[in-house]
């Protein structure tokens, strides 16, 4: 096990020099990846950044949940998602082939390199908004992971087969809560409808496709995101109906995150999440 760098040191320059002693991937970074490899890297960061950013947002509830069981439940989901992030971003680094680890990708990329959808980076809002976001994400996540278990890339298929077991649990929980709160008191119903009104347009980004998606769909590595819409609707619409919530009209999608154009919220989140590695490069636990 590597020894702990002294993070209390005043000599930050020496720490940075020690961190820099590791072979830096900078040299190769200028040369573009071959298109197929670039598309796969793009896809893997989209998967990993969604789980990382949502996992981090959920972890912000730790110690602040409305009741103990929900506090624990949300923290457990955060843990699952961050565990899955290690698989996705670990594979992304492997595919990129420039020596970057999952930690390097999580803690040393800047905001424009993140590929998560906008919905997961939004501030948590109230507990109802957090649960509504989780439900919309979980329904997509299960549909996506199910398709990925049949991926022609075995390293993608095995991560999906692992992650879907956890995603099934998440979906059961968030669907339960959406019904309980939507079809609950006047106050909880009002909050859940407000949450759905805010988040519904953001969920649209989950189903947008671009050239990278087309490359992967053609290779049988990942589904065309648009093809997941039917499974998503089949899971989500009956639950929202049971929760007595009205789906907002229109098909406008708030988009940008999948190509690195983010809201102002992600930068602030990263400033907190990445602080330690930025201030004390190479620090280990």
């Amino acid at each position: 096990m590597s020894s702990l760098p002294d993070v209390m040191t005043r000599d930050a320059a020496a720490l940075a020099a020690a961190a820099g002693a590791r072979p830096a991937p900078e040299a190769a970074r200028d040369a573009p990846l071959a298109p197929a490899r670039a598309a796969l890297f793009e896809f893997l960061t989209r998967m990993g950044d969604n789980t990382l950013v949502l996992g981090h947002r959920l972890s912000e509830w730790c110690g602040h949940g409305p009741v103990l069981e929900e506090d624990i439940g949300v923290a457990n989901i955060a843990l699952d998602l961050i565990g899955q992030t290690q698989f996705w971003l670990g594979l992304a680094g492997e595919v990129e082939g420039r020596g970057r680890t999952a930690d390097d990708l999580a803690f040393l990329r800047d905001v424009w390199d993140f590929r998560n959808i906008l919905m997961v980076e939004l501030p948590n809002g109230d507990f109802g908004q957090t649960i509504m976001r989780q439900f919309l994400f979980d329904a997509w996540h299960v549909a996506m992971l199910r398709a990925l278990t049949a991926s022609s890339e075995p390293r993608v298929a095995e991560i999906a087969a692992k992650a879907i077991k956890e995603a099934h649990y998440h979906l059961e929980k968030s669907a339960d809560l959406v019904v309980r709160l939507g079809d609950g008191t006047e106050e909880s119903h009002r909050r859940m409808q407000a949450a759905l009104d805010i988040l519904w347009p953001y969920a649209g980004e989950l189903f947008l496709s671009d050239a990278a998606d087309a490359t992967l769909a053609e290779a049988g590595i990942a589904p065309d995101p648009a093809s997941l819409r039917a499974a998503f609707d089949a899971a989500v619409l009956p639950v929202l109906a049971e929760a007595t919530l009205a789906v907002p009209p229109g098909s406008f999608a708030q988009k940008g995150g999948r190509r690195g154009v983010h809201t102002e919220h992600l930068g602030r989140m990263l400033a907190e999440m990445q602080f330690l590695q930025r201030a004390y490069p190479g620090a280990t636990w």
């Binding site: 929900e70 624990i72 699952d80 992650a163 649990y169 669907a175």
Partner: protein, 174 residues
């Protein structure tokens, strides 16, 4: 034992059967079914371990515990490899280990009841009913309620017994 000896995998498995899970110390890493393979690569023992839950923080502690136990038995070089295929399932927990869980106060998993993404049973569950009869590990009653799908560790859910009124953990099925 000499450092260059290469004990047979069965013997090594026996040693690992004494390495407790850090969160549930009454069962071992072998009981849990996470030690998938033991092979020799020259004078290095390769231990293939699969995680229970993706983000389980005990994974790192388990790897260290396995390595330490093997060093104590004279194996100098150990390499831990992670495997995701086939993904871990609570079905791999053996009968004897399930009894140990129950005696420790954790209701063992019920095979074949893992969440599968279908939400059809939801209405019944919301009405308080459940087709899942989880026996209280303390008094044996089947009159139990689920408090939460999640619990004190990633692999457990929170339940309570309506007869003896004790809360208890139920091993999540995946």
């Amino acid at each position: 034992m000499q450092a260059h000896a290469r004990p047979a995998p069965d013997e090594i498995r026996g040693w690992l059967a004494a390495v407790p899970d850090p969160e549930i110390p009454v069962i071992s890493v072998v009981d849990l079914g996470i030690v998938r393979d033991l092979t020799w690569d020259g004078d290095t023992l390769v231990v293939t371990v699969t995680p229970t839950y993706s983000g389980c923080p005990a994974t790192a502690a388990i790897n260290v515990a396995i390595e330490m136990a093997l060093h104590e038995h004279g194996i100098a070089r150990v390499r831990i490899e992670r495997s995701l295929t086939p993904p871990w399932t609570s079905d791999w927990i053996g009968e004897a280990a399930r009894e140990k869980l129950r005696a420790y106060g954790i209701a063992p998993p019920i095979d074949g009841t893992a969440a599968d993404g279908r939400l059809l049973g939801r209405v019944g569950r919301l009405a308080g009913g459940s087709n899942l009869a989880v026996a209280c590990p303390r008094c044996g009653s089947n009159r139990t309620d689920r408090v939460s799908q999640f619990g004190s560790t990633p692999c457990k859910a929170s339940w309570r017994c309506t007869d003896c009124l004790e809360p208890f953990d139920y091993f999540k099925c995946i």
